[in-house]
Structures are given as structure tokens and as C-alpha cells.
């Protein structure tokens, strides 16, 4: 692990290749940026092995913030320090933001037309299904314990019914979930 990391950081990686790699991840990532991050960083650029990438992802996923943004910051930092992190995050966001601005301008110009409203209404209904479907897909892959389910239900109620601030929910639920997980592990 340490040896592999060393090998990865010895290669000189330029700012432009960091920017381009993450631009590609951002622009190709329709509804699943993580899969493209693996493809670009491991298969195309060869900056990491599968194992190194899995380690990177595991750290990225326990930290707040989008996993791919966290990965971009860690990868950029490893190659080029703080400026590298900015370059990677900038590459990840720049392309999608430009496309977003075009879509937003179209929405603001034509959004008042009844036909456009009907189309957007349909896309919006589908987008709601996209969120719910993603939850079901991820939940199916888990082997949830009793503690997991309890924490999930409490967090859901806190957000959907009680409308509590997300920081409060996280601050209470993370220690609770950790305590339950440790207890279940001991048995």
C-alpha cells in the first residue's frame, strides 16, 4: 500500500493532466460519477491500482461532501499539493457548471411556456423517482443489521417528519450508529 502510493506520487503529473482527467470524470458522469472516476484514474491514467483506489474511496466516503469531490481533493493534493486539489476540483466542476448555466438560461427564457412547463414537469416527476430508485438500489446491496435499520428509520423521521437541521441529525446519528455497530460486532 505505502509502496504503491509512493510509486504513484513519483510520477510527474502536470496540472493540465489533473484538470483534464477530472474534467472527463465530471462531464462523462451522468448519474454515476463514481464509476467514471474509477475508469479514468485507474484504467486510463494508471495513477492508482484497484486497491489504492478502493482505499481512496473508503476515506472519501466517510468524509462529508460528495465522494468524487473528496477524491479529487486527495488526488490533486497527492500530486501537486493544495493547488493540485483546486485544479482537480475545478476540473470536476467547470464543465458541468457550464452545461448547467446553458440549461438554466434556457429554463429562464422558455420556462414560462406551457409546453416547456409540461416537459419540465415530466422530467421533475422522473427525477423524484431517480432519487427514490437510487435509495432502493443501494439499500438492496446492504446486509442491514437491526442497528442499521433503527438508525435509518430515526434519521428518516428526523429529516422527513421533524424537519430537523441536517447537522443536528448527523451529530446525533453518527455516534448512535457507531455505538450500535460496535455492540453488534462484539456479539
Amino acid at each position: 500500500m505505502a509502496q504503491g502510493d509512493q510509486a504513484a506520487s513519483e510520477k510527474p503529473v502536470s496540472y493540465s493532466s489533473i484538470f483534464l482527467a477530472f474534467s472527463k470524470i465530471g462531464l462523462c458522469g451522468f448519474g454515476g460519477v463514481a464509476a467514471w472516476a474509477h475508469r479514468v484514474l485507474v484504467d486510463e491514467r494508471g495513477w492508482y491500482t484497484d486497491k489504492q483506489y478502493a482505499d481512496l474511496l473508503s476515506v472519501g466516503s466517510v468524509l462529508p461532501g460528495p465522494n468524487v469531490c473528496n477524491i479529487s481533493i486527495m488526488v490533486g493534493d497527492q500530486f501537486r499539493g493544495a493547488l493540485g486539489s483546486l485544479t482537480a476540483l475545478g476540473g470536476l466542476l467547470a464543465g458541468p457548471l457550464l452545461i448547467l448555466i446553458v440549461l438554466a438560461t434556457l429554463y429562464e427564457t422558455y420556462g414560462g411556456l406551457p409546453l416547456v412547463q409540461a416537459v419540465i414537469g415530466g422530467v421533475t416527476a422522473a427525477a423524484a423517482g431517480l432519487v427514490i430508485g437510487t435509495v432502493i438500489k443501494l439499500a438492496r446491496r446492504l446486509r442491514a443489521s437491526f442497528g442499521n435499520i433503527l438508525v435509518g428509520l430515526l434519521a428518516f423521521a428526523a429529516a422527513a417528519i421533524l424537519h430537523l437541521h441536517v447537522l443536528l441529525i448527523v451529530a446525533v446519528m453518527v455516534p448512535l450508529s457507531l455505538a450500535l455497530t460496535i455492540r453488534e460486532r462484539r456479539r
Binding site: 462531464l27 451522468f30 476515506v59 468524487v68 469531490c69 466542476l93 432519487v131 437510487t134
Partner: protein
């Protein structure tokens, strides 16, 4: 007035940044509460429409926050909202990045990963409920939400297909009932 709005955007999104475990969709209920109920920046429908537009663009889900900023205050709003949601969590990640080799493989890291799993899922489920409430007012929209749910949950195909079908059927329905 303008600086007041930008300041509110910055504070609102910066405070939820550290709660975004598992990604931006985990803070969607909080965004909805702040933007629609607390500040009254947007109505329910506009919030849901902007979310759908962000989903139709490539890239990480966090760009939905950028879009809210753009909608409220143009390019400056986009920059402020994006920086605010990214900065706190990015600084934390940057700090952790430096000590990451000591964390990888540690037992407590695996425990933490296991313990964190249900929280973003639950928050995303709450997001889905809020989005469905905002989007579904007719039989067609309910069917579209349900259909997309099944499509995404049980196939590996690109969800962009489902969004396109949603837009197409929404438009067709309008043309048929109006004509």
C-alpha cells in the same frame, strides 16, 4: 439587499456542508427547508424543477446548489453558493488527505464506514419523499415517479433515459389534452 442575499446563501450552504455525508443529496431535505420554508427563496415547484435540471446535467449532484445560487443571484450567486457548500467539507478532506495513509485499513475506519451507511440512505429517502410531494400532482406524474423508481432500482441502464421519457410524456400529455 443583494449582499444580504449573498451572505444568506453563503451561511446557509456553508453550515450544511459538513452534514453532506455520502454526497449532496443527503442535505436535500435541509436545502428544501431553508430555501422554501425558512428563506422563501423559491416555491416548491421551482425547487423541484431546478433539481430536475441539475440531474439532467452531467457531474456531481452538488451542482444543484450552484443552480440555486444562479437562479437567485446570477453568476455571483452561483460562485458564492458553490464555494459555500464545497469549502468546509473540502478543507476537512484536505486536512485528512495529509494523514490518510495512517487511516487506511484501521479497524475503526471500517467500523465508521459500516456505521455511516444508513444515514445518507435515510436522508436520501427523505429527499425522495420531498421531491415526489413537490413533483406529483397528476396521475401521469405519479406514474412517472413510480416508473422511474423501478427503472433505476432494478436496471443498470443510464437514468438519463428515464428523465427523457418523463419529459417526452409530460410534453405529449400537454399536447394531447390541449389540442
Amino acid at each position: 439587499m443583494k449582499t444580504g442575499l449573498l451572505g444568506q446563501l453563503a451561511i446557509t450552504f456553508a453550515t450544511m456542508s459538513l452534514g453532506a455525508i455520502g454526497g449532496a443529496n443527503a442535505v436535500l431535505p435541509e436545502m428544501h427547508r431553508q430555501a422554501v420554508s425558512v428563506h422563501g427563496w423559491l416555491d416548491d415547484t421551482t425547487f423541484a424543477n431546478l433539481f430536475a435540471i441539475a440531474q439532467a446535467a452531467p457531474g456531481p449532484n452538488v451542482i444543484f446548489v450552484s443552480l440555486i445560487g444562479w437562479h437567485l443571484a446570477g453568476p455571483t450567486g452561483l460562485a458564492v453558493a458553490t464555494a459555500a457548500i464545497c469549502l468546509p467539507s473540502s478543507l476537512l478532506t484536505f486536512g485528512v488527505s495529509r494523514i490518510r495513509r495512517r487511516l487506511i485499513g484501521a479497524n475503526w475506519m471500517k467500523l465508521l464506514q459500516l456505521a455511516l451507511m444508513p444515514i445518507p440512505l435515510a436522508l436520501m429517502a427523505a429527499s425522495g419523499l420531498i421531491m415526489a410531494q413537490a413533483a406529483d400532482h397528476t396521475l401521469l406524474t405519479v406514474v412517472l415517479t413510480a416508473g422511474t423508481t423501478l427503472f433505476v432500482a432494478f436496471t443498470q441502464r443510464n437514468p438519463l433515459w428515464a428523465l427523457s421519457v418523463g419529459g417526452l410524456l409530460g410534453g405529449l400529455d400537454f399536447l394531447l389534452t390541449a389540442g
